[in-house]
């Protein structure tokens, strides 16, 4: 009996390992624009990933079905599961890189850790990396990081905008003098990005800053909130992700800290966070890169065409949530970059180098946003070689208990200071790695 078992076990093992060698990589159809997607749908951030990448793929499906692709070039894609783990992300990147002769278009790692792991690889492989609203902040300086695009707003823009928002709530930034602000952050590369700029702001505006880390994944925060209660801050900035955000809101309620004195960044401001926190979330503010909601023509198109007609939608109850909309918008910017590149290089699948040029020369203005059906979901995006970041505009929203409601217009933080710090940090990196800053030719 056992003998028999052991033999079958050895056979099963050999067969699965054989799959690694034997199964040919699914060849992508020639003449299509292949998009490599490094996504995550399991693990502690799986719920967030499902919304982001669900929206991303829904939009790609829409472009294929409604418009017949980008100028007639159909989109194809493959998703590889990273589980938000750096080593797995690298494996996925290496795999997707080989799937198509034109490369994976542009990679959206949706993880600061994986972004750092790829920074040194992308110039060699000539694959652009779009990290919108996360990743290496100093990559905004495209002369040092030609292949990296932290588009829309980077963490430092976000942090200064949050300080400005708090200042406005207190009745002017000069009122911040002597106030106490806590940064409760996810203890990872992601959570540490805003530290330098917040410390600079604290010095400039004269408020007291206390940094309190929450270890990954963040579902246990009793001691942190005890510290906060002892410190009695005026405001808490929440730099959370995944389960950490909801836990922070619930623990804040338990320790009696008012939720309307808490401001999250844009990764701590989606329905997934607030619905999980229940009534504890009511009144909580967060910065946002894009608005949620279903009132946009593009969302209606996806609902009608991808969900109802094609029956290929990712998950109907995600439609219109903040993260799902963000995934849709990320896909739109990728598609527009391909379109921009096609205008220069011709109507064929674009390679990594051509897509890079397309992203760098991206100009999605208000008129274009309206034509695409996005209206005011996100601010206009215009990039250049010096500025890989774009507008740096964010909007603040408040959770009413049932939905996110925008409370401010698009606003930016201390752009001048951020730009200066970005250039300093990028110059340091260039010196360390012996990079000669400059623009790549188109």
């Amino acid at each position: 009996m056992t003998k028999h078992w052991k033999r079958s076990l050895a056979v099963v093992l050999a067969a699965i390992m054989g799959a690694l060698v034997a199964i040919p990589a699914t060849a992508q159809q020639a003449g299509t624009q292949f998009v490599g997607i490094t996504g995550y749908r399991v693990g502690p951030y799986g719920a967030n990933g499902a919304a982001l990448f669900g929206g991303f793929i829904d939009y790609l499906n829409l472009v294929n079905e409604r418009d017949g692709g980008v100028n007639g070039i159909k989109l194809t894609w493959e998703e590889c599961e990273t589980e938000y783990v750096v080593a797995k992300g690298l494996e996925c990147y290496e795999r997707l890189k080989t799937r198509s002769p034109t490369g994976p278009t542009a990679i959206h790692p949706m993880s600061t850790g994986i972004t750092y792991g790829l920074v040194d690889k992308i110039p060699v492989d000539k694959i652009p990396l779009i990290t919108w609203g996360y990743g290496r902040t100093d990559a905004t300086d495209g002369r040092v990081f030609p292949w990296l695009f932290p588009i829309l707003a980077n963490y430092w823009d976000g942090a200064t905008a949050i300080v400005k928002f708090i200042g406005e709530k207190e009745g002017g930034v000069e009122k911040l003098k002597g106030k106490k602000i806590v940064l409760l952050y996810h203890d990872s590369a992601y959570g540490k990005e805003p530290h330098p700029v917040l410390e600079a702001e604290a010095k400039k505006l004269g408020f007291e800053l206390k940094l309190i880390p929450v270890p990954h994944p963040g579902n246990e925060q009793q001691s942190q909130w005890l510290q906060i209660r002892q410190y009695q801050p005026n405001w808490v900035i929440l730099w959370g992700w995944g389960v950490m955000t909801a836990t922070a809101l619930q623990t804040a309620q338990k320790t009696g800290f008012p939720r309307d004195k808490m401001v999250g960044n844009w990764w701590a401001g989606s329905e997934i966070d607030t619905i999980a926190a229940g009534p504890a979330a009511t009144g909580y503010y967060s910065a946002s890169l894009n608005l949620g909601g279903k009132g946009y023509p593009v969302v209606k198109d996806i609902d009608d065409i991808v969900y109802k007609k094609m029956n290929k939608g990712s998950k109907a109850d995600l439609i219109g949530t903040v993260l799902w909309n963000r995934g849709v918008a990320a896909a739109m910017l990728t598609v527009e970059a391909v379109r921009t590149a096609q205008a220069k290089y011709g109507k064929k699948p674009m390679t990594g180098e051509q897509v890079r040029w397309g992203i760098e020369n991206l100009d999605v203005n208000a008129g274009r946003l309206k034509a695409l059906g996005f209206n005011t979901m996100l601010p206009p995006v215009k990039l250049s070689c010096e500025d890989h970041g774009g507008s740096g505009l964010v909007r603040f929203q408040q959770w009413t208990g049932t939905e996110w409601r925008a409370t401010t217009d698009w606003m930016s933080g201390d752009r001048q200071m951020v730009r200066k710090m970005v250039e300093e940090s990028a110059a340091r990196y260039a010196a360390e790695k012996n990079i000669k800053p400059g623009c790549l030719p188109g």
């Binding site: 056992t2 078992w5 052991k6 076990l9 050895a10 099963v12 093992l13 699965i16 390992m17 799959a19 690694l20 199964i23 699914t26 996504g39 995550y40 749908r41 399991v42 799986g46 499902a50 990448f53 793929i57 998703e79 590889c80 599961e81 589980e83 750096v86 080593a87 690298l90 494996e91 290496e94 795999r95 890189k97 080989t98 600061t112 850790g113 750092y116 792991g117 920074v119 040194d120 690889k121 290496r136 902040t137 203890d187 990872s188 590369a189 992601y190 540490k192 990005e193 530290h195 330098p196 880390p213 990954h216 990712s314 940090s425 360390e432």
Partner: protein
């Protein structure tokens, strides 16, 4: 039939004591080395080299380190990833702060630093055993990454705490392409595996096994417990430290201290358990199982789904992969609790008797 050693006479002590006393083993090992050194770089794609073979070799080295401590000396440890972190960060700092530091030298110094830290965290093993020791080494797992994050000097004041590796250049030769990186790691891992194989056959190795099997009896026959246990911690941490340095500077290229978390320690412990506790070969087999199996399943499942004409959403395949992987591990431990190395041994016995089993 294949493994019949009849007719192979040993005429000297040296012949009797060699690493592979059976000729077939020697030939197989030689063939494997030729395959790894000469054939693989020629036929393997960059994907196979960087995404499959590199992590496999690095994790095999880390599993080897843990196997020395847990499998041979019998000291259960949950601090493997922490010792890897020490090796990685120490090697990075030696390269950064000492001008003209050779890369291989920094790996060795990184390993030695990890060995020192390992001795420090090995001290409780003199008084406590088994699960309680595992909890004590757990302290290393929490303390070291915390310290590396807290003191930003370790990461050269990087704003995000990420260390980014310098290019690996040895004697003016840059190890920058996947093939070169693979060969470098292969050479280091092969040499260290050879050293480990010899170490466990030496008096130190025998002392470890004596302590593992019954420490009171070992003490009675004159083995110094403290020295033996601390050497085991030092050697094990050295291996883990070098593995960590390779993981950070050759495989990932940049790493944050949080990457060396408890999860990684558990993965390496599972490699040892599934590969075979107390077996050098087992460390390699276990590392292959844990690193390659998820990738193989990741390729197999969508392919199978397509074959069966199932339209699975992307999330489902990821979940199914985890379920299948977990089920395989459980199946394994039920059918063959002694690990893959034991399965290999049974296979060898079978080949020896084939085609006339009795």
């Amino acid at each position: 039939m294949f493994y019949r050693e009849a007719g192979q006479f040993k005429t000297s002590y040296a012949a009797d004591q060699q690493l592979f006393p059976i000729r077939q083993d020697r030939i197989a090992m030689l063939a494997l080395l030729v395959l790894a050194v000469a054939v693989v770089p020629l036929i393997a794609s960059n994907y196979v080299l960087t995404a499959i073979l590199l992590p496999f070799l690095v994790f095999a080295l880390a599993a080897l380190g843990l196997n020395i401590l847990t499998g041979y000396a019998g000291q259960l440890s949950l601090g493997t990833a922490a010792f890897m972190a020490v090796g990685a960060v120490a090697a990075y700092n030696f390269q950064l702060r000492i001008p003209g530091m050779p890369v291989l030298g920094s790996f060795v110094l990184g390993g030695l630093t990890a060995a020192l830290v390992g001795i420090g965290f090995g001290l409780p093993s003199l008084r406590i055993k088994g699960f309680y020791l595992a909890v004590a080494t757990l302290a290393a797992q929490f303390f070291i990454p915390w310290l590396l994050v807290k003191v930003s000097w370790f990461s050269n004041n990087s704003s995000s705490g990420v260390i980014s590796a310098q290019p690996v250049v040895i004697l003016g030769f840059a190890f920058d392409s996947p093939v070169r990186k693979y060969l470098l790691v292969l050479a280091i891992v092969a040499l260290m595996a050879l050293a480990a194989k010899n170490l466990v056959r030496s008096s130190i190795g025998r002392a470890w096994m004596a302590v593992r099997d019954m420490d009171v009896a070992a003490e009675v026959i004159g083995i110094r417990i403290m020295r033996t246990k601390l050497i085991a911690f030092a050697v094990s941490s050295f291996y883990c430290g070098v593995a960590g340095a390779l993981y950070a500077s050759v495989y990932l290229g940049s790493v944050e201290a949080d990457g060396f978390n408890l999860d990684l320690s558990f993965r390496i412990l599972f490699m040892v358990i599934i590969g075979g506790v107390g077996s050098i070969l087992g460390s390699f087999l276990g590392a292959a199982f844990i690193t390659l199996m998820p990738i193989a399943l990741d390729r197999l499942l969508p392919w199978a789904a397509e074959l069966l004409n199932l339209n699975l959403p992307a999330g489902v395949t990821s979940m199914v992969q985890l379920v299948v992987f977990g089920a395989l591990i459980i199946l394994f431990l039920i059918v063959e609790p002694h690990g893959l190395a034991r399965l290999w041994q049974i296979g060898k016995e079978k080949l020896r008797l084939w085609p006339f089993p009795y």
